[in-house]
């Protein structure tokens, strides 16, 4: 059986990759994908802990996270399409109108 530490390590690596993606990429769709990676990194921690502690709570929360992630992807992509129609660009730095 794979010990808990390995799972957590993979989870942390995935989360770091996702975070780096959010900050470094210049494409909104890639950023959305990076967010999905972060969510799944968290999911991985949840199920790992759930198995370790012999409880189903972790799995239940993962189901919730997946639902939210699906909804988020739908709404997020719709917004991205809207933004693209507006600006002909997917670079997040192009969208800084929402300020004073």
């Amino acid at each position: 059986m794979i010990p808990l530490g390995h799972y957590l390590f993979v989870s942390a690596v995935l989360f770091a990759i996702g975070t780096a993606g959010v900050f470094m990429r210049r494409n909104l769709i890639t950023i959305l994908l990076s967010i999905e990676i972060m969510l799944n990194a968290v999911n991985l921690s949840f199920v790992a802990f759930g198995r370790q502690l012999g409880s189903v709570d972790g799995q239940i929360i993962v189901l919730f996270v997946m639902t939210v992630a699906a909804a988020e992807a739908a709404v997020g992509l719709a917004i991205v399409i809207g933004l693209y129609r507006h600006r002909e660009s997917l670079n997040p730095d192009a969208f800084t109108l929402l300020k004073w």
């Binding site: 975070t19 959010v22 900050f23 997040p92 730095d93 969208f95 800084t96 109108l97 929402l98 300020k99 004073w100």
Partner: protein, 670 residues
């Protein structure tokens, strides 16, 4: 039962105020007059019931509901009729009803809505005045006191589109406010000291303590404060200045409010608290002196005024002064007696002057009148009777009441005050007959004397008369009827108080006496009854009274003859005198410059202080400064802070990330 008396006029007010605009004039006038008549009938029935009770226990009380109940302090809305209140409700509802009837004709040229507005105010006034005289404690009286002040303000400024009328209303209101402030302080002081506001209970508490002879204690201060309130309401020095200006209102209003009823509220209030005042002799002396000085001063001003209503206004101030003199020397009965007769003849005189003004389409300057005797016979004869009564010609009402005041003053040992009052009655006869002679006798004078100070007055209900004074018509029936009734009253009203020296019984004094005693005392000793019986029995007092009567009769006749000589027989004499004593004449014509003095001493400093101190100093610099300063600080601060909001989502995400790292780091390495 008692509550009905003020409730009727209140009902009239509600009807005219709510539906008046849609009612035809005849109906709104009829409603207003009918409720007054109803109120008078109920009053008369009440007084009849009161008279049926034994002399010592004449009081009918009705508690409508408990107004204030706060811990130990319980105050009921209570009405009480005692002999004093009985006289007052009859005057207010009776004279009030007559004046309402008169007004239906006088105000007939007003448009429908204004007509109803006028009658709604007049009804409201009557309701408040009746509350004032019926109130059984100070707070109920104060409700009426303030209410009549409000109605007075509304009615003086009835023609509010005219600036002088609006100003006069404001002046009356503000001056009254000064008096009312002192009045409520006095009430609070009485409550703090004696723990009750009920008149009867106050009287019994106070009657148990010795009079404050020679000291100026709580009672003296409280009564003095009450008296200051009375000087405001009843137009005495130093707060009389509003009354002459109040003549800007419609003439029936001047008759009802500023002659017969409201201005006598101060006299009534002192009579109501006779026990309190008699336990404060120092205040009584002040009351007497102020009354006498006011009487004399107003009478001298009345001698030279040219506006028919202003002469009557100063005459009212002067007569009120006499009433206060009577109150001040402890002759409460005499003061109320004069109040009662004065209500008749002064209302008559004002309504007569109203008829003259009505006939002349708004002319009020007596220099433009003259010779009206032939055109206005009814007005002339009734006005003449009123003038004879106020002048104190023997056996008319004013003679009995004024004579009683003079007698009581002299008898009380105030020779100087008596002299002032006697001179006042001489002047009264003179200025009244100057008015009569200049208005009704001599030849007709047109507009050859334009007066720059009061341009052709009164926008009033009248249309301008382009053809000069073509059709001068006598009073219409409703007005004539009222004039005649009041004239009869002016002749006969005095006969309820014929003094013992003339073989009368002085019934009014006996009737009123229990009201001026602490409750219970009257029942024991018969109070004033016995006192007046003593004077009757004392031949020396009777001789004194007869002598004084002769003096005042001579005064009245002398004043009339003087007026006849100066203003009718030798017209040029009046102008000559004015030129000869130009200093005195200007002083009197300008009313001793009291208005100017008040303007310089009070109004200007307040205006300057308000503008430069309160407005530009406190308001603009401090308050506005604080408010605007807050705004400026917020605006400047947010100008700096808003730079944090870049609009770049990545920047926000970055700051969140760094924040999370910092928080996690804190927990890991702390």
């Amino acid at each position: 039962m008692l509550a009905l008396i003020p409730l009727f006029p209140l009902l009239g007010f509600l009807i005219n105020a709510s539906f008046g605009r849609r009612l035809p004039k005849t109906l709104s006038g009829a409603v207003a007059s009918a409720v007054m008549v109803a109120s008078f009938v109920v009053s008369a029935m009440t007084v009849r019931r009161l008279a049926g009770l034994p002399a010592g226990e004449r009081a009918i009380e009705q508690t409508v509901y408990t107004w204030i109940a706060s811990g130990d302090f319980v105050l009921d809305l209570t009405f009480r009729v005692d002999p004093l209140a009985a006289v007052m409700i009859l005057i207010v509802s009776g004279i009030g009803a007559l004046i309402h009837v008169y007004s239906t004709a006088y105000m007939h040229d007003e448009p429908d809505g204004e007509y109803a507005r006028y009658f709604s105010y007049l009804n409201l006034f009557a309701a408040f005045m009746l509350v004032l005289v019926l109130g059984a404690n100070f707070l109920v009286l104060f409700v009426g006191w303030e209410g009549v002040g409000l109605c007075s303000y509304l009615l003086i400024g009835f023609w509010f589109r005219k600036k002088s009328a609006a100003d006069a209303g404001k002046k009356a209101f503000v001056v009254n406010r000064i008096g009312d402030y002192a009045f409520i302080l006095g009430v609070l002081l009485l409550f703090a000291r004696f723990g009750t506001l009920d008149f009867q209970r106050l009287a019994s508490v106070v009657s148990a303590i010795p009079p404050e002879q020679g000291v100026f204690g709580v009672l003296s201060i409280a009564t003095l404060l009450l008296f200051i309130g009375a000087t405001g309401k009843s137009a005495q020095i130093p707060l009389y200045v509003w009354l002459p200006d109040a003549m800007e209102g419609p003439t029936p209003v001047s008759a009802l409010i500023h002659a017969a009823t409201m201005v006598t509220a101060g006299v009534y209030m002192i009579g109501r608290n006779a026990v309190l005042f008699s336990h404060a002799p120092e205040t009584m002396l002040i009351v007497a002196v102020i009354g006498a000085v006011t009487a004399l001063m107003a009478a001298t001003i009345g001698l030279v005024q040219n506006d028919i209503k202003r002469v009557l206004a100063y005459s009212t101030v002067s007569q009120l002064g006499l009433m206060f003199l009577a109150m001040g020397v402890g002759a409460f009965g005499a003061g109320i007696f004069h109040l009662y007769t004065h209500a008749f003849f002064k209302a008559l005189l004002f309504l007569g002057s109203g008829a003259v003004i009505h006939a002349l389409h708004g002319e009020q300057d007596i220099r433009h009148m003259g010779g009206l005797k032939r055109y206005l016979p009814v007005t002339y004869w009734t006005f003449l009777i009123g003038s004879l009564a106020i002048a104190g010609v023997p056996f008319l009402s004013g003679f009995f009441s004024k004579d009683e005041i003079l007698y009581e003053t002299f008898h009380g040992g105030h020779a100087l005050l008596w002299l002032m009052a006697a001179v006042t009655s001489l002047l009264t006869a003179t200025y009244m007959f100057r008015l009569v002679f200049l208005t009704f006798h001599g030849e007709r004078r047109g507009h050859q004397l334009p007066d720059p100070r009061s341009p052709i007055p009164d926008p009033g209900p009248r249309v301008p008369d382009p053809g000069g004074h073509g059709h001068v018509h006598d009073a219409p029936p409703a007005m004539a009827l009222v004039l005649v009734i009041l004239a009869v009253g002016s002749v006969l009203a005095g006969y309820v108080g014929v003094p013992h020296a003339l073989g009368g019984r002085n019934a009014l004094a006996a009737w009123l006496a229990p009201s001026f005693q602490p409750p219970g005392a009257a029942a024991e000793v018969g109070g004033g009854l016995q006192a007046s019986a003593e004077t009757a029995a004392d031949p020396a007092a009777a001789a004194l009274e007869l002598t004084l009567m002769a003096v005042s009769s001579a005064n009245a006749i002398g004043g009339i003859l003087l007026a006849w000589f100066v203003w009718l027989r030798r017209r040029e004499l009046a102008a000559g005198l004015a030129r000869r004593f130009v200093g005195v004449y200007t002083l009197l014509l300008n009313k001793y410059y009291v208005d100017e003095l008040y303007d310089a001493a009070v109004v200007r400093p307040i205006q300057v202080g308000s503008e430069h101190g309160l407005w530009r100093g406190v308001d603009v610099a401090v308050i506005d400064g604080a408010v605007n300063g807050t705004g400026v600080i917020v605006a400047e601060g947010s100008g700096i802070l808003r730079r944090l909001q870049t609009g770049s989502v990545r920047a926000y995400a970055g700051s969140m990330f760094i924040g999370v790292i910092v928080i996690l780091g804190y927990y890991l390495w702390r």
